[in-house]
């Protein structure tokens, strides 16, 4: 058994450790106006699909955009803006036959109420048709997009959608 002094010492040490963690958590919350450096869009699912080989088959790809941000739709209203596009690299054993993108929502920034932007926010789904050769293929589809919030924009980015395609 530990002595009384030892128990008190351990108790103080534990409490001091907790206090240090609490302090550390506070000072780590450094205010910043920079946008997050992690990709603002994440691929959700499916992780695996089973398709009939050689036949164009529907695969719905689900993505999520972080709260407070938006990305251009596939058909933005302005030629200067970068559309959201999905593609599959060639030679992956799976070909992208077609991709149907959701209609975006029209929004405008408070500083320019007449300028309409066609964007995705929250979750969105790209309806694709894929054609696969027989076998198992781990494909790395890519979603190319450009994200902004209501006052700032991030450079165009590409994220990977890894999907295990089982074709028989």
């Amino acid at each position: 058994m530990l002595g009384r002094n030892s128990r008190i010492g351990i108790g103080i040490a534990l409490a001091a450790g907790c206090a240090a963690i609490a302090f550390g958590q506070f000072i780590s919350n450094t205010p910043s106006h920079a946008l997050p450096k992690t990709p603002p869009v994440a691929y959700l699912y499916p992780e695996q699909v089973h398709l009939p080989a050689g036949k164009a088959s529907e695969v719905a790809l689900h993505f999520r955009i972080v709260e407070g941000m938006h990305i251009n739709s596939h058909t933005p209203h302005d030629d200067f803006l970068i559309p959201t596009t999905f593609s599959i690299p060639t030679g992956a054993g799976v070909r992208l036959d077609s991709a149907k993108y959701p209609a975006g929502n029209d929004i405008s920034l408070p500083s320019a109420p007449n300028m309409k932007l066609n964007v995705y926010s929250g979750e969105f789904v790209v309806q694709t048709h894929m054609v696969a050769t027989p076998g198992n293929h781990l494909i790395k589809g890519t979603l190319h997009f450009q994200a902004c919030n209501m006052s700032q924009c991030l450079p165009p980015q590409t994220i990977t959608a890894a999907i295990d395609v089982v074709a028989k």
């Binding site: 205010p31 920079a34 209501m150 924009c153 450079p155």
Partner: protein
């Protein structure tokens, strides 16, 4: 008795630290939530808050000499920041695909025309975000064509410089656009803006650069 006193003080100190950390955390989260709500709800509100000093972006470069750079303009002429010593300069990082940049561009043109006679100039540094260099001719030419089209459409009266990604690092790794640095006549950064603010905020920064 002595030991009990020491233990009591230690416990009190730890409890006080907990209380302080909790209070400070709560205060910070409350302010962060207010900032997020303002940004999500209204850029106008954000601009208003900015004027009141709540949302001013402080770059580590503020108060320091602006890093010199040399970039080509749309005509292929090399332009250096050093050439503008003695003038107040707004270094505006922007991109053709950036909607907030499109919104603030007419403000910048108007302010440039208003203050040019006092020794003010704008350098529009295009940062397309693809790290294109003249060596990558296809990408460089594609970017250049889009930038030239934008400059022509907006009738930009100031130098538009290409390859801004290459000078982003000395300016703190500019990724979020628009971002502007205001440099006084001595070449020192006196103000910075990250994101879309308001014409009055930009004008205040220009006046500061002209005055300092």
């Amino acid at each position: 008795m002595k030991r009990n006193t020491i233990v009591s003080f230690a416990v009190l100190f730890i409890l006080a630290t907990f209380a302080w950390a909790g209070w400070a955390n709560w205060e910070y989260r409350k302010q962060a939530a207010a900032r997020s709500a303002a940004m999500a709800a209204s850029g106008a509100d954000l601009a208003a808050d900015t004027s009141s000093g709540t949302l001013v972006f402080h770059s580590p470069l503020t108060g320091k000499p602006a890093p010199d750079f040399t970039l080509d303009d749309l005509n292929g002429k090399a332009v250096s920041l050093a050439n503008y010593r003695g003038k107040a300069v707004m270094i505006n990082f922007w991109a053709t695909w950036c909607t907030p940049c499109q919104i603030e561009t007419p403000w910048i043109v108007e302010l440039r025309d208003k203050y040019a006679s006092q020794g003010f100039e704008v350098l529009g540094v295009s940062s397309q975000g693809d790290d294109a260099t003249p060596k990558d001719k296809t990408l460089w030419d594609k970017d250049k064509a889009a930038i030239a089209k934008f400059a022509q459409q907006k009738k930009l009266p100031y130098p538009v410089l290409l390859g801004g990604d290459g000078i982003s690092k000395p300016y703190g790794g500019v990724e979020d656009l628009p971002t502007s640095f205001f440099v006084n006549r001595k070449g020192v950064v006196v103000a910075t803006e990250m994101g879309l603010t308001s014409e009055s905020d930009l004008e205040a920064d220009i006046q500061k650069a002209l005055k300092d």
